[in-house]
Amino acid sequence: MYACLYLPGTPNGMPKQRLVALAREFSPEVEHTSADTVVFSITPLRAILGPPYQIASEISRRGYERDLNAHLAIAANADTAILLARQFAGVRLVASGEEASQLANLPLESLFAHDVPVDPTLLDILHQWGLKTCGDLAALPEAGVRERLGLAGVYLRNLALGHINRPLRIESQEAEYEEQLELEHPLDRLEPLFFLFGRALGDLCGRLRSQSQAARILDARLVLDGKPEYQCRLEFPVPLSDSRTMLKLLQLHLERHSPEARVMGFKLRIEPVVPRRMQNGLFLPPIPQPDKLQVTLARIAGLVGEGNVGTPQLLDTFRPDAFRLTTLNGSCFEQKPDDSRRQILRLSMRIFRPPVAAHVQVMDFVPRRIVAGDVKGRVVEWSGPWKTSGEWWSSHAWTREEWDVELDDGALYRIYRDVPASLWYVHGVYD
């Protein structure tokens, strides 16, 4: 059984909140059908309050106490309750099996004002057929309605008969995932702070998991003694719900960027998202666990520097060796195996960063001998020059003449001449 509360003539705002609050007194699962209508299940209340008329009486009493002049309808399905509550003032009780007779006198327009949108031209067709009420539509044979009006017509007929049974569309309450603590004595070391972080993150993650959520962003703010607030924002490439992983990432971050003064308090806030669901397969290769991998990459970043670990991404430019390192995102865990065969080895390059300055002996406009650190020798074969330039409008402008040269020791290098500076460099080696 479902109860529908309808408060006529109420725009968005406080009246809706009062309706929802009244409904939540009777059921935790409330459908916010519209700004003026809520529906909730009263089936569990039968064991507590008794038959439907007693439940209706209790709802009416609570509504009166809250000064809510709402319509109430109780029916076996939600849609019938909504239609009746919107049409009749006061309290309306419909026993199971009597839906069609109760709805029979409703005008057809009420079906089109319902929540599921139906093509309004159908109303004109029904009026042309001479139908005025729900009872008229319900009396038509289903096969004929389907032939002439399609599935939308069948839906309207079932609505008029009170035959539509659907689950409630429950909206979960938006939860705030935030913990804050003011310390009695300021902390000048990080270890006791991590202990407090662990407890707060444990509570937050417990609440996250209870709502089937995961953390995308962890925002930590530290109140410092005599200094501006310290803020740290950790964005996880893959949503996390494990407090120990988050604590470890926060710990690694704070060890790299320590607060400048004693900590007087903190506030932790988590932005929730739907966790990533992935189906592994017996015949798929194993992949790193996302939470463990994030901790590992954070540890490595602490070792080699934050900008030196990640996934390479090529930039859309002709500039030589143009790339950037990005954080590993969740897409790498959702790759599908590619069965195409790769049987050809391609010529690959190893880049010298920074390029090695070279002394190049040029004869007849062709490099003949190179001396650049451990790269030295006579040029036996060459290809070039290949002139490139670009991005003259930015600080990355380049103008160069590139050569591929083979030295007498058999090694193959790419060298180039920086045209504006007229200097030679060894860019890389084919390997």
């Binding site: 798929l284 290769p285 194993p286 992949i287 790193p288 666990q289 463990k292 991998l293 901790v295 590992t296 990459l297 540890r299 490595i300 070792l303 080699v304 520097g305 030196n308 670990v309 990640g310 996934t311 390479p312 991404q313 090529l314 060796d321 790339f323 390192l325 590993l328 995102n329 897409s331 790498c332 865990f333 790759q335 599908k336 195996p337 590619d338 069965d339 195409s340 065969r341 790769r342 049987q343 050809i344 080895l345 391609r346 010529l347 690959s348 390059m349 190893r350 880049i351 010298f352 960063r353 058999g410 090694a411 193959l412 890389g428 080696v429 084919y430 390997d431």
Partner: protein, 180 residues
């Protein structure tokens, strides 16, 4: 068992004239490497494979080919680049799926490279972890403790679906543990 015998069991040195073949029934399915005839049965999992050679001998091409094979099988791979010489454009041209690749640039610090490789192995789940020692000076390599070899061997065995490639220049002076 001496350390040398121990390492001989867990390493598969790649020297092109003579390649030790896989056993008849490997414990885990190897990574197929069509195009690399030196590995007729593919690459053994859970072990260290060393690829060595002079400049321009095709070390990087072989590595990128193996990475392309692994990433095509939706495996996540890692490259620990000691001298910061990895070329993403070459990797892309070799059909390596860059989205499945973790690149660690160690800025010519071999100790950082070893520790980063250790962390990656400990993390587990990678299909291929490449430790690139190309162009690292021999005196730096000589200072690498033997214990790293044993730890890496154990980790690569414990974290089962692993390959390990140690890439570097050949060194003329022989040593108990073959880093070259």
């Amino acid at each position: 068992m001496s350390v040398g015998e121990y390492m001989a069991n867990i390493t598969r040195p790649l020297s092109f004239p003579s390649i030790p073949d896989l056993p008849e029934s490997p414990d885990f399915a190897p990574l197929p490497t069509p195009g690399l005839p030196v590995f007729p049965h593919g690459l053994r999992r859970g072990g260290i494979t060393e690829i060595a050679g002079p400049r321009c001998s095709g070390r990087m091409a072989a590595i990128l080919h193996i990475l392309a094979q692994a990433t095509a099988r939706a495996e996540v791979c890692a490259v620990v680049d000691t001298n910061d010489q990895f070329h993403p454009a070459s990797a892309y041209a070799a059909r390596v799926n860059l989205a499945s690749l973790v690149w660690v640039r160690c800025g010519k610090n071999a100790e950082h490279a070893l520790r980063a490789a250790d962390l990656l192995l400990h993390s587990g789940g990678f299909g291929v972890v490449v430790l690139d020692f190309c162009d690292v000076k021999p005196r730096v390599l000589d200072r690498i403790p033997i214990s790293y070899c044993i730890v890496f061997g154990e980790r690569s065995k414990i974290r089962l679906p692993f390959f390990w490639f140690v890439v570097r220049l050949p060194r003329p002076k022989p040593r108990l543990i073959r880093w070259s």
